[in-house]
Structures are given as C-alpha cells and as structure tokens.
C-alpha cells in the first residue's frame, strides 16, 4: 500500500494538513508567549516555562525526524502524548498555573490527525491528569471546568468540521472520476469520428474515380489493342526474317520466292514502326495507371508542395475519354511555384470540374471546348476550368453546391461532386466560385500558395 500512488483523496488530505501544521505551530507559540507574559515578574517560573516549552519543541523535532521513522505513527503519537502530559503537569505545578496555559486544552481539541477515536483518547489522557493536578494544587475549580468544557466543545467542532471536509473530498473525487470518464468517452468518440472521416475521404476519392472508371478502362483498352497487334506482328515478322536468313545461308535458289512469300519489304519497313507503336502504347497505359494511382492515393495528415500543372495534366489524362468526343481540351498553364496542399484532393476537384464541363458540353449536342488556365498573384493560385456548355440557369445558382443536388438522371450522378469539391477547397483555405452565361460556365478554384499557413489562420 505504501508503494502505490496515493489516491486523490489522500493527496488532498495531506495538502490540507500541511497547511494546518504551520498554523498549529503559530498558535502554540502564541499560547507560550502569553504564558511567559503572565510570568514576567517571576524569573524562576519564567525560566521553567521557557525551558520546558523549548525542550518540548526540540523533542518534537527529534521525534518527527528520528523516532517517527523507527516506531511508526501510532507509538510515536503515544510517546508524544506521554511527554506532553508529563511536561505540562510538572511545569504547571512548578509555575503555579498561569491563566494562558489553560488555552492548551481547547488547542488540543482543535488539532486532529484524522483519527477520531485516537483524538478523543488523547484529549482525555491530556485533560484528566492536568485537571487533577490543578485541583491538587488548589487552583480555583472554575478554570479546569471552563477549559475542559471548551476542549470538549472544540473537539466536537473539529470532528464535525472534518466530516464536512471529508464529504467535500469524496464529492470532488467522484466528480473528478466522472470527468475522467467523460473525457475518455469524448476521446473515443473523436477517434471514431476521425476514422469515419478518413473512410469517407477514401470513399469520395473512389467516387471521383468511379465517375471516370469505365472511360479509363476504355482508354487502356485502346493501346492494349494496338500493342498486342504490334507484338503479334513482330513475332510473325521475326519468323519471316529467320526464314529469309536461312534461305540466304543455304544459298537457296528460291530466296526471292521466300522474300516475296513473307513480304520482306513490308516487314523491314514496318518492324521499327511496330516497335515504336508498342512503346507509345505502353507509355499511354503507364500514364493512365499512374494517374489513377495519384487520385486513389490517400493523403497524409500534412499538406505537401504539389505541382499544380502536373495535377492538371493527370486530371486531363483521366478525363480523356469523357472529354475527347465532346470537346477539345486546351491547357494554358502559367509557370507556378509548388502549391502546398493535399494533392489527391486537388486532383479530385479538378477531375470533378472536368467531367462536369464535358457533361455540360455534351448536353448542347455539338462539339465544344474546355480551357484550363492557371494564374498566380499575391500568394494566391487560381485554376479556371471553362466550358462552352449551355450555362447554369439563374434559378440553380444557389443550389449547385448543395449536397445531393443534381440535374442528372438517376444513376448518372449523385449530386455530391461540387459539394465535396467546395468543402475540400474550403479545407485548404481557398474558394470555389463560378461565372456563367449562355455561352458557357467557368469554375474558378483559388488556393493560397503557402496552403498550410493560411489555412491555419
């Protein structure tokens, strides 16, 4: 028990007691000072009282420093009581019971070490010998009677006061425990919430990717088509070359027939082109796969410097199949410094804006144009995505950023794209706005270039 951490209650109690001990010392000194004052005209009694008090003080210090550690609290207190009673009885006997010494009785009633029963025993053990000795010394009976009454009253008052104190400690301990429990619950809830939020962010990325998924598959299938054809052709070409070479080696007379049969001229002309086609196709597939990985990449806690121009190119790659049949995509990119942001989120926003632009143009039924332009000024970067679609009707201006608001048919859009995009840009300390007319709509993303610092402000 001694080695374990003291409870909250014990600590509060010890704190209170350590504040009371100096007070007790001051009161003791005051009583002794009054006693000495009452004896000032009797030098012998003065000396006895002063020496007895000094000796008791010194003994108390010695007891606290040495005996307490060897004997333990209970036996030490018994010793202290015995010494105190003996000294008081003898000193008062020899000094003739000056009035202030009776103050020791209520004083003992007011001190406490927290053990109610022991305090009463100690009081009786102190008061009874003192009273008896006083009566033996023919002191008028009013004094022992009055101060014994005061001592008992003080004892009762102290017990009551301690009860109140203990109740208060216990209440505050209960409240503290309740507060701790509430704190733990809150922490658990915050952790759950964070987990849900990160799952949601992942789900939203997948949704952005889902909007272009079938198009992306198509974009991959096209190069796969011509890469496989080219590789198969190169395999056949190689076997054709081998046959011609073998015919040459055998000095065969029909070399020319073999060359014509395998169409050597065509093979020699086309083989390098087929290899180039394979390279082009694989490069295209690689670019698409890299772009998909960039969108599905889960951003860490921290924002990082991102090349916005590169992000735009990635978004354009992914949205190719949404855009290429309805519009020409043009990029006018200013040279921007790196922008501190969550790259995956910005990419997702750009992808959403691009797909929306393509859909808007698709609704007009004629081929249009999507222009993506960037600019930088006063520490802010702006990205404009402009389409030549039919524009947004005035009645819908207020609503397009509302979650689940969509003008598309069921299954074509969940109405989340712009709501999420605006939330993500706001999270970066930026804005997402639009201007629209009958000739088209321009969405503008504005971001602080030093993202983190401004977003935090």
């Amino acid at each position: 028990m001694g080695t374990s951490e003291p409870s909250f209650k014990e600590r509060r109690y010890a704190q209170t007691m350590s504040k009371l001990t100096p007070l007790a010392a001051v009161v003791s000194l005051a009583i002794e000072a009054m006693t000495l004052g009452a004896l000032w005209y009797r030098p012998r009694a003065l000396a006895i009282s002063a020496i007895a008090f000094g000796a008791m003080m010194a003994l108390n210090v010695y007891i606290n420093m040495v005996v307490l550690k060897r004997w333990g609290a209970h036996r030490t207190e018994t010793l202290r009581l015995a010494l105190s009673v003996t000294t008081s009885v003898l000193t008062n006997h020899y000094t003739g019971w000056p009035l202030p010494v009776w103050l020791w009785l209520p004083y003992h009633g007011l001190t406490s070490d927290g053990h109610r029963k022991w305090n009463w025993i100690a009081l009786v053990a102190y008061v009874v010998p003192l009273d008896l000795m006083a009566l033996y010394d023919h002191v008028s009976i009013q004094q022992p009677l009055l101060f014994t009454f005061l001592a008992v009253a003080a004892r009762i008052f102290t017990d009551a006061r301690l009860d109140v104190l203990r109740t208060m400690f216990e209440t505050s301990e209960t409240q503290r425990a309740e507060l701790d429990a509430a704190h733990a619950t809150l922490k658990a809830e915050i952790a759950t919430r964070e987990k849900i939020e990160s799952a949601l962010a992942r789900a939203q990325k997948l949704e952005a990717l889902g909007r272009v998924a079938s198009g992306v598959a198509h974009e991959i299938n096209t190069p796969v088509q011509f890469v496989s054809d080219s590789v198969a052709f190169l395999r056949d070409a190689t076997s054709g070359f081998t046959r011609v070479i073998e015919a040459h080696r055998a000095r065969a007379k029909d070399v020319e027939d073999v060359e014509a049969e395998v169409d050597l001229d065509f093979l020699v002309c086309e083989a390098p082109k087929a290899i180039a086609l394979v390279e082009v196709g694989l490069e295209r597939i690689g670019a698409i796969v890299r772009s998909m990985r960039q969108v599905s990449h889960v951003d860490g806690e921290r924002m990082e410097p991102v090349d916005i121009g590169q992000a735009i190119k990635t978004a354009v790659t992914l949205a190719t199949s949404e855009c290429k049949h309805v519009a020409d995509v043009e990029t006018r990119l200013e040279t921007l410094g790196p922008v501190v942001c969550h790259g995956g989120e910005i990419l997702q926003v750009l992808l959403n804006l691009l797909v929306n632009a393509a859909h808007a143009i698709g609704a007009t039924g004629k081929r249009g144009r999507i222009v993506i332009a960037t600019a930088q000024r006063n520490g802010w970067v702006s990205i404009d995505v402009a389409d030549t679609g039919p524009g947004i009707p005035a009645a819908l201006h207020e609503r397009i950023f509302e979650p689940f608001f969509t003008t598309k048919k069921v299954g074509q859009g969940t109405g989340q794209g712009l709501a999420i995009a605006r939330a993500m840009i706001a999270h970066h300390g930026g804005t997402l706005t639009f201007t629209t007319s009958g000739e088209g709509t321009t969405f503008r993303v504005e971001l602080p270039a030093d993202g983190a610092a401004r977003a935090a402000a």
């Binding site: 079938s214 598959a217 198509h218 299938n221 096209t222 190069p223 796969v224 088509q225 011509f226 890469v227 496989s228 054809d229 080219s230 198969a232 052709f233 056949d236 169409d263 065509f266 086309e270 082109k273 087929a274 086609l277 082009v280 196709g281 199949s321 290429k324 049949h325 081929r367």
Partner: protein, 117 residues
C-alpha cells in the same frame, strides 16, 4: 477479291489491325480510314463486303455510320470493334460486336466466318 473497310479515329489501332491481318493481304483487299466522314465518302465509290467500325468517334458515331452502310450497301456485313460494347446496339445495326482489346486470332476467325474461305 473481297474488300474490307476498317474505321477507327485512332490511327494506331488501324496500324495494329493492318499488322494483325498482314497474312491475309493477298486474300482480301483491306482499306483503313481514320474518320467516319472519310468512310462515308468511300461508300460512294467502293463496294465493301464487310465494314468494321469503332463506336465512339468525334465526327460520326459508329452506330450512325453503320446505319448509313446498311441503307447504302445492305449486302455489306457490319461489325463493331469497340472498348465499350455495353452500348445498346439496336438489332440490325451490326451483325456482330467485338470488344477491344480483341486479339488477332479472334478478329481473323470472325472475318473468316463472315467472308468465307
């Protein structure tokens, strides 16, 4: 000799098809065109036995092209070669739909089936 027309907006795809069908160069007359408009022009001057078309093309949609082929040259076999054949192809627009990527052997066996030996 039978004449086959291939239409795809992606020149690389046509080049791949040319490679895949190189072995048939003496058997069939192969024509490759990169736009629906060019294909429509070719329909005026040439009779095709079979037309293979992509679906999504910038100028003329594959479905529209094949519909025009059906009205102008009803004898021509119409085949779709696209990455996205989930697209509803109404009955009669095409005889068969091939999904990209379509390996050389699959394409060749399809053509042989329709064009005969």
């Amino acid at each position: 000799m039978k004449t086959v027309l291939f239409v795809d907006d992606e020149a690389a795809v046509l080049q791949g098809l040319r490679y895949a069908l190189h072995g048939y160069r003496r058997r069939w007359n192969l024509v490759f065109l990169t736009s629906g408009t060019a294909a429509l022009e070719a329909l005026e001057s040439t009779t095709f036995d079979l037309v293979v078309s992509d679906l999504k093309m910038p100028d003329i949609d594959g479905v529209e092209l094949l519909t025009r082929v059906r009205s102008k040259q009803p004898a021509a076999v119409r085949i779709i070669l696209s990455g996205n054949v989930e697209h509803v192809v109404e009955d009669g627009v095409a005889h068969e739909a091939l999904r990209k990527p379509c390996a050389g052997p699959a394409l060749r066996s399809c053509l042989e089936r329709w064009l005969g030996p």
